[in-house]
Subunit: 256 residues, 6 copies
């Protein structure tokens, strides 16, 4: 049994609180075990210069941690005057992942600013951010529909993420917490759609390597976890989830 | 009646949730109307270089807002690569205020890092930060006492803050929300102790001025509000509040 | 008697040299004891983006110290690549104070850049900066009137500033020099108009507090000093001072 | 047939010129089609502070492009004053990949600085950097052995990287050049060892997704390309390659 | 005899490889002994804001070193987040020197971006950069002529640079390598035209001084070296050199 | 006759006010026509890390302009967050020039910080800075002698600087003011010792060139001006000048 009593293929308890921040067009507080992230989606009525005139929308993400989200207090990136490589990597990942399920041409020339602020961290902050940001983004789109700025949710599938890894003692495990992550030989983040297609796979052996067989087992377990996360998104979104399902049946942005 | 139905000398609803962040030595989520601030106190077992060897402790504060804490999304200070003048002014104010009620020599060579992160803003974020940070700091000190790292709470009085201002329509008002603050002719932040002594007065006429009589009325109203805030701190801190009261009766750091 | 032989309510010798810098629209070298500040006012024929089209002017201030203005050489802020919190706080204070006595709508869409550069420091640099910058600004306005770019001085009152404090040995004192400031228990900067109305009060107890009675004595002494500073401004400005007096009698921007 | 006449599973011509930079302990100019990268390995006789006293070595990498390596001139990151997210992501990837095949404990407290400077870019710069940096690093280790600073090459396997992707017209292709990369629906970078174990998989659908079957085909093709790259490393390293083979047969750092 | 066997007035072997970087409008790899610099010239179809509407072109230069160009690895300027004083001085020198032989009015409103990237350094990198950048720039101009964007090469003379110095043992020497430069008492960089006119003289005694007679000898030797460098430029440029000679005979931009 | 009535070989009026800043070990306000620079010399009892243990001193210089020293207000370098290339070039020049006449080994492990702050600019600010900084530095050394921290002035000669140039109308002229500098075809700064030896020559043709004959005339005129500047230094320094003369007769640091 794992350090917190879970078995290898068990997610931590997951909860999402909608409309957590009143000013944002869409917002959610996602809790995955002891990891808590405030995700907001803000709509800006213009796109970056390189996209102007193209008629398409854009999605960009920022990620940060409160200084005391972690066991040891971290120096604030605003005080250091620069953003770390890790932060930039995560920001790019979140934006890229969300763009894969959004019909940017149906959004029109708008930018969606996603902010994921980790207020308490215990591993898996980037995957919790993606899973929560998806919901905040859909809520913001629903507001645009309500205000008649767009006709329908420009989203053609669900999207969620989790981590899997190889633990020296337990083998392949799902949804690593901080202490598990720190000792894992292989760490993999997987982002998938509701249809079970991959959006992103990032598998890394830190001072270790992994075989094709291990890869296959890792991916099976990730898919198992992501399906459950999507069920939680579905129940959080309620009626909006049905609209997404209808779109999913109609069209697909997958590579042929 | 004011925009949100309050009368001139009425505070907004105030709530404090202790131990909101599990990793921090002390933490509180303070809610003042729609303003919400996560305050944490972290203990570091050393002091800055200019204080080493003096046997005294130090308290320093950082303040930030989530990008979507406000009506319009703000650019993150970490992205801009620098901290604004407003942020620095607030950080210095919070640190200075807290130091006025702490017996730094009884703390020993430790630094208390206060972090005030505004997750939702509707005016009065700096005064809410001070009021909440005081409680987070006392909780952190209580943990040090519990771990037998210090003998007693090194705090000789309560400390809270509020704003008062002159509204063009309503005259002198207490605890301004954002829309009141935006139109106020005079804005004043007051930090006071449980004994009713001033720690900080910052009164500003933006494109306006104020008389000595108006100043006196503003200060009376601030004191009225701060006494109520200290009662809420007292009930949040429970038994710890009694320890502070005992210290208060024994000694005083006031200017003679 | 105080360290430099003054009695408690005595200002240091004050002198202002007009037109000290030939290129600036307005300039003054203000000397307050051993504190010397070059104040210049520069006129720019546009306002910041957030004010364009509003027909009103703007005033903004910058403050700096030469590295060897102080007893110990300071690292230049341009070398450090960032401006300190203290500098930003002072810059904001100077700009805000000047704006309170200027009729920005009569100035038209112009920006006044105030630069206060301390070439020698011995306490009270921010209050000397305000007192000198006021004169430099009026001189720049007079040049605009002369060049027929505006009709009259857009200034409705005088403005000056000084510090007061509580000294552990001497009690309440006026116009603190550096060594007095370093040991003061309470330090207060007061900005007032010629009419005796407050523009800004910043009172701070560093590891100390102060009572309402002490506050009243501090404010009385500040007013006493500021009245003398305004007399010196008056004699420096000569005929221009009379124009301001006439405006003062005609109108007022004070909070009702 | 692809734009440059290759078939889907064909690498571009690859060449490595050893000892290209005379000052570096190890260096190589790697050419992959029109992509050219100078890779150097520098040995520093200390490790970063967080590793001191642990007896282990460290490997860190930096990556940059000359401004005119690309079709359009890029602004230099030193002029912008900050390093982009893309650059940081690549730097972290290179360092992590190399560390996976090095016996850091046998290196002793030394840091290997890898510099990958792209002088001409036509896609695949990060994978060419890894493939070239591996050779530069082994050459630097050989110099340490020669100088009797370490006993043997602290490397237990080969390491190379390539890209695979899904092209809208040609389907799954190997070693994408710039124009292929720009239009690919799915892009994947794979880092593998001589034994055929994975070190890193980074697969990304930009506004697209991919199935488990497509993933398997992508990985097969990547492995096919990497085996050829390792043969070229082997012939570049000559006798040193045999030493690595002997180590490979003796031990393994793979996840169990 | 000097450390590398040269006599006092002997240049190191010089070689220029044209079209070294395929994307740049003009490029050359210049080798002077062990010093190697990639020089590229990029054409941008606009000029900086301060020159718009004037009908003239502009030339600007950037200079950098790869981290391991030198004996000891240097920290990258992009990592430090700022460009050193030495780099800025060299950049300004290169741009200024090139502008002295270009007819900016015949270029039209275009900017030439010169990039000089030192890939291996052994003294004289700034003079090698100027000598190589001149050739890269002429090649870029030739491309503009070919594309009929300008009528003729807007260059009225050749331009090259070298260093001379006073060595404590050998006296006055030409084209100092790194170890000679490190011990030289006087160091002088000279930029001259094909006509033998000066464009720039920078002579410096570091903790030493030099007489008028020594200055004259230094300048004679510099001219001797520069004439040879121009011959090498001439043979690299081939037919383009003849076009420059014809222009040189027709007109001159020298001070009267 | 030149724009300000001078003939070609006439300096502007020069004045030096000693001890202008009370805190600095040495200070001078130098006035050259309308150019005014505050020069201070500060002594620090340690040297930079790369010089520790060598028993020698170091001299470093910083240069800045007040924002309104110029006709148009300049943005402060501290606000821009970086120091311009021009500023760095001047700082390096000042430090290098001063070091050439100081016996660093007789100074011991001390750093002299030179600060040159231009409060009003009308051309020639860098040469005025060198000429004034020399005097400030000697005054600081005299203070060290007085305090018995060193035995004698560690200075073996005088040092001053001026500019010469080629004016399109007047030909070769001495000590250019701003408007002359702006239209000069050739601009040259010369730093010389009391013995008439060169320390630095920086001659530049901006979009122009100059002949050997013109160079000789420029240098003659520079020497003529510098001799007068040294006479003014001599009379400012009084008795200290005699001590320098005695040292000058005893020894020399010139290149053999």
């Amino acid at each position: 049994m794992r350090i917190d009593g879970r078995d290898n293929k068990q997610l931590r308890p997951v909860h999402m609180e909608k409309h957590f921040i009143k000013h944002a067009e869409g917002s959610v507080l996602i809790t995955v075990g002891d990891t808590k992230v405030i995700c907001t989606a803000s709509i800006d009525d213009k796109v970056p210069p390189f996209m102007r005139g193209g008629g398409k929308g854009w999605i960009t993400a920022e990620y940060a941690m409160l200084p005391r989200a972690t066991e040891q207090r971290n120096v604030r990136e605003s005080s250091k005057g620069k953003v770390s490589g890790r932060t930039m990597e995560i920001q790019r990942l979140i934006g890229r992942a969300l763009r894969s399920v959004v019909q940017l041409d149906k959004l029109g020339e708008k930018t969606v600013w996603i902010d994921c602020d980790v207020i308490q961290a215990d591993g898996g902050t980037r995957t919790a951010s993606i899973t929560g940001a998806y919901v905040a983004m859909v809520l913001a789109f629903a507001k645009l529909v309500e205000e008649k700025k767009i006709d329908e949710l420009p989203v053609h599938d669900f999207l969620a993420a989790t981590s899997v890894g190889i633990d020296p003692e337990h083998g392949i495990i799902l949804d690593l917490n901080y202490s598990e992550d720190a000792r894992a030989e292989v760490d993999m983040n997987v982002v998938m759609t509701g249809e079970g297609r991959f959006v992103e796979i990032q598998g890394t052996g830190e001072e270790a390597t992994f075989s094709r067989e291990q890869l296959n087992e890792l991916l099976d377990m990730a898919q198992f976890g992501i399906q459950q996360l999507i069920e939680i998104q579905r129940s959080t979104l309620g009626e909006l989830a049905l609209q997404i399902d209808m779109k999913r049946n109609g069209e697909s942005g997958s590579a042929s």
